[in-house]
């Protein structure tokens, strides 16, 4: 039976895709606020299995549903709309505590419950689209085109929406899109149910806009996040809450028991920090605005922290602060008499808080003529800058808790790569310095890796003895690394030693440092930092990397995972020490990623493959495996390329958000166009689909290979262009690649629809399954092997897809319906 195409169906498909991808991005935001981002990632990756499961559902129930396609689509869309909101409210009520998962096995059950809740909306969204594919076989490429187009627009829309409205309203906006999709389709249906459905939609629409309280569903932020804990303290209160796609900022005041953030403050100090306001990002990651009344004496504590070291060596320097945060590091430079201070901050809202909203509290710091504040991504700012500085200071912006629990293992950071250090050093004037302060963990991880990174950067820049220009000091919880442009003099070394003696800090490295000086005030079991620094600055680096139980090899732009310290070899030992206080040494972030991958593989098999296996198959034996392989490979490869591109463009576009928005919308839109074009090609070259797949794959491989070699150079040349021009350039670069990548899937699916129509839900399910697996697999591969390898691998997969197609079963099957 042929299903008639309902009016506005293609637009509805677009709207559903738009809302679905928007929901995915928004959910990532929302769950990062109430939980932690790596668990958000874990939950969403599994929820996406709803996509795969919808294929199974359609395969099992198609006889019932297909005759009522339009109604089913419309009901599915309404359910999608309602469940988006309900499930977020419900999901927050699950008492899941990520931090307790090591100790309490019930947390795993709660986690499962979270999956189940968030699975629902994706299931309904995907069911609508899969229905369209299954019922309107002759329009597959067109549906795919509108599906991708909608998804592309969805990525852009949600990011724009998050700039304009609160996350709660953004959620409602998405629900309205899904409602509109439903209304459009059902309006053309001649069924007695039509009016009731329209009425229900109208009711829900009005409820969304008029009756729901503005902050519903409210955020139930985990009680173990910094913000929740701060708010328990007597008399604390929230002064304001601000949101954009970069995060939810909450400003908290604690008049009775003030915030006193002063990392690395000497134990010998007689001073204390003045009152501070806390800025929490997503309920955690505290940054502070320090009260300043123009009296520098109130900031005397700033003399007694490890980060003060460079100012002992430089007179009235011209300073660049990377990561201005709440402005305390800028104030720090003011206190130490900097001549000029350029400060870079990623989040415009944070700058506004210091410069406008709480300007009085901050002593109108940003009105000072010596200070220039730039809203920009730090690395990108430095690359574009033509200035030279006496001091470049990389601020300590992440919180110790985040740094300690290894939750950042999955986040890329282009601040601490070898290339970044090279770039900073190029902007340091002769005799000037680069200073980086990090939290110090025991056993050392960040500091050790940073030291190795600096040594590698200096070597690449041609330094024969890189150790001659480096000094490293530490307190009990921070380390400050100094890299001088030129060799450190004897006099400078004397000043460093004296500074450390006064403050009971330890010197961990300086040129020709005697071993007897290490480990005097803050005693570790062994002078690990000194020993490590000696080995890494000499010729024993390779052996030391190998012997160290954490991963401390330098991060590069190709593997920008500075916070990844996990080594499999160390895991059994740490697990056996878990109950004896060893749990804190395990780098959990990486393990969560591995768990995400394993659960995706298992749950996918259970939810998608197993049910499909037991249903009746109506295609020639042996064909299924190859068809399945084809769609699985395409799912993996598409996301690998997309992920790698997001990474490659972060530096060029200067902002991770721009990169995500441009890459997602660019890839989806141009892949959509490619898909639409493939339908024309198929009609023109009937019977030669195999060749079309081969052409598309050739296109993908050649464009990607050219990019691999050309892009770094091209980006270097064009990075100084204005943002808008760079976005256009990025889109133009994405266009040919994505256009070709949009073809193999609809060509394959169209063929399957004609020759083995029962396989369509299978193809959709398997492809969805592969996309879920590829998200975590891609990150794991990038951490281990770098993005270049991920791209090469994806190209290999595309070639494999062409080979699988060529070996016959899909494209050489006789048509099932004459």
């Amino acid at each position: 039976m042929k299903t008639q195409t309902p009016r506005f169906l293609f637009i509805s498909v677009s709207l559903i895709s738009m809302a679905a991808i928007g929901y995915e991005i928004l959910l990532m935001r929302l769950l990062s606020i109430v939980q932690w981002h790596h668990f958000a990632y874990m939950i969403i990756s599994l929820a996406l299995l709803g996509y795969g499961a919808s294929g199974t559902f359609i395969a099992l129930s198609k006889r019932l549903i297909i005759p009522h396609f339009a109604l089913a689509f419309s009901v599915g869309a309404v359910l999608f709309s309602v469940s988006m909101i309900i499930c977020f409210a419900l999901g927050q009520r699950v008492p899941f505590n990520a931090l307790e998962i090591v100790w309490d096995s019930r947390q795993v059950l709660y986690l499962l419950l979270m999956y189940l809740v968030f699975f629902v909306p994706f299931f309904f969204a995907a069911t609508c689209i899969c229905l369209a594919f299954t019922c309107l076989k002759e329009h597959i490429a067109r549906i795919y085109f509108f599906d991708l187009l909608g998804a592309g627009a969805g990525a852009l829309t949600i990011i724009a929406a998050l700039f304009l409205m609160s996350p709660q309203y953004a959620l409602r906006l998405l629900a309205v899109f899904a409602l509109a999709a439903s209304a459009l389709v059902v309006s053309g249906v001649a069924s007695p149910l039509r009016n009731r459905l329209l009425l229900a939609q109208g009711g829900f629409f009005i409820a969304l806009l008029l009756f729901l309280p503005p902050n519903w569903p409210d955020f139930r932020i985990s009680q173990f996040k910094g913000q929740s804990q701060a708010l328990q303290v007597v008399d604390t209160r929230v002064l304001g809450q601000y949101s954009n796609p970069l995060g939810l900022l909450t400003v908290v005041e604690s008049p009775t028991i003030p915030f006193r953030d002063a990392p690395g403050l000497s134990l010998n100090t007689q001073s204390e920090p003045p009152a501070q306001l806390a800025i929490f990002t997503d309920g955690d990651a505290m940054s502070v605005i320090t009260r300043f009344d123009g009296n520098l004496n109130s900031l005397a504590y700033m003399d007694d922290v490890t980060a003060a070291l460079p100012y002992r060596l430089l007179d009235r320097p011209r300073v660049l602060v990377l990561g201005a945060g709440g402005g305390t590091d800028v104030l720090f430079a003011v206190y130490h008499g900097a001549r000029v201070i350029d400060a870079v901050e990623l989040n415009p809202l944070v700058t506004k808080l210091v410069g406008e909203t709480h300007a009085d509290f901050a002593g109108n710091l940003y009105d000072d003529d010596r200070i220039n504040v730039y809203v920009d991504e730090a690395r990108s700012f430095v690359t574009r800058s033509a200035d030279q500085y006496d001091l470049i200071q990389v601020a300590l912006l992440d919180s110790f808790a985040a740094s300690g629990a290894g939750v950042q293992a999955l986040s890329e950071s282009y601040l601490y790569t070898v290339e970044a250090i090279e770039e900073y050093l190029r902007h340091v004037a002769p005799g000037g310095m680069l200073a980086i302060t990090r939290w110090l963990k025991v056993p050392p991880r960040d500091t050790m890796k940073l030291f190795a990174t600096v040594i590698e950067a200096l070597r690449r820049e041609g330094a024969a003895e890189p150790g001659q220009s480096i000094a490293l000091i530490r307190s009990w919880n921070t380390s400050t690394l100094l890299v001088k442009k030129g060799n450190l003099s004897g006099q400078e070394i004397e000043i460093i030693r004296e500074f450390c003696d006064i403050n009971a800090f330890d010197t961990a490295f300086y040129p020709s440092m005697p071993a007897s000086e290490a480990n005097r005030y803050n005693v570790l079991d062994r002078p690990f930092l000194f020993e490590g620094a000696m080995a890494l600055s000499g010729y024993g680096a390779a052996e030391y990397f190998e012997r160290y139980k954490f991963q401390i090899e330098p991060a590069t732009d190709d593997k920008p995972y500075f916070f990844h310290f996990f080594k499999w070899r160390t895991l059994p030992e740490l697990l056996s020490l878990r109950k004896r206080g060893g749990a804190g040494l395990i780098e959990w972030g990486y393990l969560v990623l591995v768990a995400t991958l394993i659960q995706a593989i298992l749950a996918g098999a259970l939810l998608i493959l197993f049910p499909l296996c037991v249903i009746k198959r109506n295609w020639p034996s042996g064909a299924g495996k190859r068809m399945g392989a084809y769609f699985f490979i395409l799912g993996l490869a598409f996301l690998f390329v997309e992920m790698a591109f997001i990474q490659k463009l972060v530096l060029f576009l200067g902002h991770p958000l721009y990169s995500v928005a441009v890459v997602l919308s660019g890839f989806l839109t141009f892949a959509g166009l490619g898909s639409g074009y493939s339908q024309k090609l198929v009609q023109r070259y009937r019977g030669r689909r195999l060749l079309l797949v081969a052409y598309a794959v050739t296109g993908i491989v050649s464009v990607a290979l050219v990019y691999l070699f050309l892009l770094p150079d091209l980006f270097d040349r064009l990075i100084g262009q204005p943002d808008a021009a760079k976005i256009v350039i990025a889109l133009l670069l994405i266009a040919p690649l994505a256009f070709c990548m949009g073809m193999p899937f609809p060509i394959g699916l169209g063929t399957v629809a004609r020759k083995a129509p029962d396989f369509v839900p299978w193809a959709w399910g398997i492809n969805g399954y592969a996309s879920v697996v590829s998200a975590s697999l891609g990150t794991l591969l990038a951490i281990e092997f770098g993005f270049t390898v991920v791209i090469l691998l994806s190209l290999g997969l595309y070639v494999m897809a062409a080979v699988v197609a060529n070996t016959g079963t899909i494209f050489r099957l006789p048509p099932s319906d004459p």
């Binding site: 505590n97 173990f224 303290v233 963990k441 025991v442 056993p443 009990w476 919880n477 206080g581």
Partner: protein, 249 residues
């Protein structure tokens, strides 16, 4: 007669009920005691495996006696009572936790408590650490910044008879000058720096211990020692034997 029978029966019923209840309560108590003994045995086993940082192969006996005598289940919320003697941290509400018993024992051991000592604790929480210290030292002063926790802990410590513990709601940053100097200070959660006032209020020869890390995972213990001459040094102790390097040079 009937009335008499009724009264008699109901009395009998009440008696049976009371007897059963007391039996259940006693059974509960016995179970808790058994669990506590098992917990102490586990901590001792781990201590032997780890080796004390002072070079001994076990925690000080008085510390372990105190661990064996304090009824930890009285310090955890009802819903968590059945896990009270498991060697793991437990949430106690308000985003706070009662520490893992092994870490409590280790921290207590590190400050080398003496029966004449006056100890300051910053962060009362449930009151468990103060209770453990109470059996080992002369007096314990403890400050909590979260009001309901401070109130609950005060009531609990009083009810359980820990009379040498004095609690206060307030800011721990400035210590407790009236009772200073202290022979030992226990800070239950690390901040970005060690408050200078606490260092001042530590008696020469005294020790301060601070766990560093998240609420559910202690990464290291910071031990601050003030020498007789007033010089301050720290030792950073990870709770386990873990050498970050493998193999020989």
């Amino acid at each position: 007669m009937n009335l008499f029978k009724k009264i008699y029966r109901s009395k009998a019923a009440i008696f049976i009920l009371l007897a059963t209840a007391s039996f259940v309560i006693r059974a509960d108590d016995m179970q808790y005691a058994l669990d506590r003994a098992a917990m102490v045995a586990e901590i001792e086993r781990y201590a032997r495996l780890t080796g004390d940082r002072t070079g001994d192969q076990a925690f000080n006996k008085p510390v372990m006696r105190s661990m064996a005598s304090v009824r930890r289940h009285e310090f955890v919320p009802d819903a968590k009572k059945r896990f009270a003697y498991e060697n793991r941290p437990l949430p106690i509400g308000f985003g706070q936790t009662i520490s893992q018993p092994y870490i409590v024992a280790l921290m207590t051991d590190l400050i080398e408590p003496d029966s004449d000592d006056v100890v300051l604790e910053i962060g009362t929480g449930s009151g468990y650490q103060a209770a453990i210290l109470s059996r080992l030292v002369k007096s314990v002063y403890t400050i909590e910044i979260i009001k309901p926790l401070a109130e609950n802990a005060t009531a609990r410590l009083q009810r359980l008879g820990f009379e040498n513990v004095t609690t206060r709601l307030g800011d721990g940053y400035y210590g407790w000058a009236e009772h200073a100097p202290f022979d030992a200070i226990v800070v239950t959660a690390a901040a970005s720096h060690v408050p200078p006032h606490l260092v001042k209020q530590l008696r020469p020869g005294g020790r301060m211990v601070i766990p560093v890390g998240g609420r559910f995972m202690t990464q290291q213990l910071l031990l601050i020692e003030k020498t007789e001459t007033g010089e301050v040094k720290t030792r950073q102790v990870i709770p386990v034997i873990f050498v970050p390097l493998t193999g020989a040079h």
